[in-house]
Every structure is written in structure tokens, then in C-alpha cells.
Subunit: 99 residues, 2 copies
């Protein structure tokens, strides 16, 4: 069941652009913000403002990430939830590729 | 003849990430910088620092653009040259889609 992040957490994800090939999303979160479990197609992240985040996967495994501005991360399609575990607001661009 | 922007103007275009589906490029320019004629596949631009630019196409036509941070512009494949015609440095992300 694919849960669209824009539907499950519209306060954290804003669609900046969308067509049939790509969707560009601005992600913003405050310390303590948790987004419910959601699914992405393959995507690239570009960090605008740094921070710390924890990702939790459907099997219960977790992954911690510390980010810095300008950092780029590629991900294949994934389902996860995300929590801002740092002390700063995080801002990032999410570039989702369709098909 | 496709001229890759990274080859014609490496001082203005830096590849941040590339795989078989996408190429993420950071574009930076100073007032007066001109990049030679080059070609893009379909791409999305996200403006980080604002400014003014003039695009010149192979047929000699031109287009002026004023940008602001956070502005997003989609373009189908195109060949053009670009000039920073403002008084500020421009910084932007170029998201090229392959195939």
C-alpha cells in the first residue's frame, strides 16, 4: 500500500513542481516532528538546512542520518517514516523520479 | 551536435550527482559570466540565489529571466547559451532527466 507523503504529512511536504516525469518536493521539519510511514519512488535528496534524522522501516529497523547543506543522497524506492531527532529545523529538496 | 555544459563551462557547472536516470548540477555564475552554447535534456531548475540572466538560442533569439530563490522552472530539451546580466552571483540547481 503506497502512502503518498504529501497526503500523510502535508505540513512537512510541499509540492513545488510536478509533471509526468518528476516531482519536486520541499521538506521542512522541526525538532521532534515525525512523519507517518510513507512510500517514495526512486529519489534524490538535496539538503538545504542541516540536522539529524532517524528513519524507521516497516520491519522496525532504523537508520540515523546527520546532514549538512549541499549533501546529496540517492535512494531507490523505499517505504519509511522519518523523525527530526536533532535540535534544528531541517529543510531539504526531494526529487522523485516517476515510472 | 550536443555540447555538454560541464565540458564547455566547468567553472560554472559542477556535477553533484549522476546515475543512469538523473544528473544534478550546481550552477554558479558571476555578473558578466557567459557560458558557451550547450545542450540539455529535459530539466528542472531550482534557484538558490537570485539574479538576472539572458538566454540566447541557436537562431539568435534571446529571452531574459529574472529569478528569485525557490523559483522552479521546467524546460524540455534545449540548446542555448546563458549570460549573467545582473549585478549578483547566481546559484541554482539543475536537475537533468536522462532518456
Amino acid at each position: 500500500m503506497l502512502q503518498d507523503l504529501v497526503k500523510v504529512a502535508p505540513q512537512n511536504y510541499k509540492v513545488l513542481f510536478e509533471n509526468n516525469r518528476i516531482r519536486l518536493i520541499e521538506y521542512t521539519s522541526k525538532p521532534g516532528d515525525k512523519t507517518p510511514m510513507h512510500s517514495h519512488p526512486a529519489y534524490l535528496v538535496y539538503i538545504l538546512s542541516p540536522g539529524k534524522a532517524r528513519f524507521t522501516f516497516p520491519d522496525g529497523k532504523t537508520k540515523e542520518r546527520e546532514t549538512r547543506p549541499g549533501k546529496v543522497v540517492w535512494s531507490e524506492a523505499v517505504t519509511h517514516m522519518e523523525e527530526n531527532t536533532g535540535t534544528t529545523d531541517i529543510r531539504a529538496l526531494i526529487i522523485e523520479l516517476k515510472k
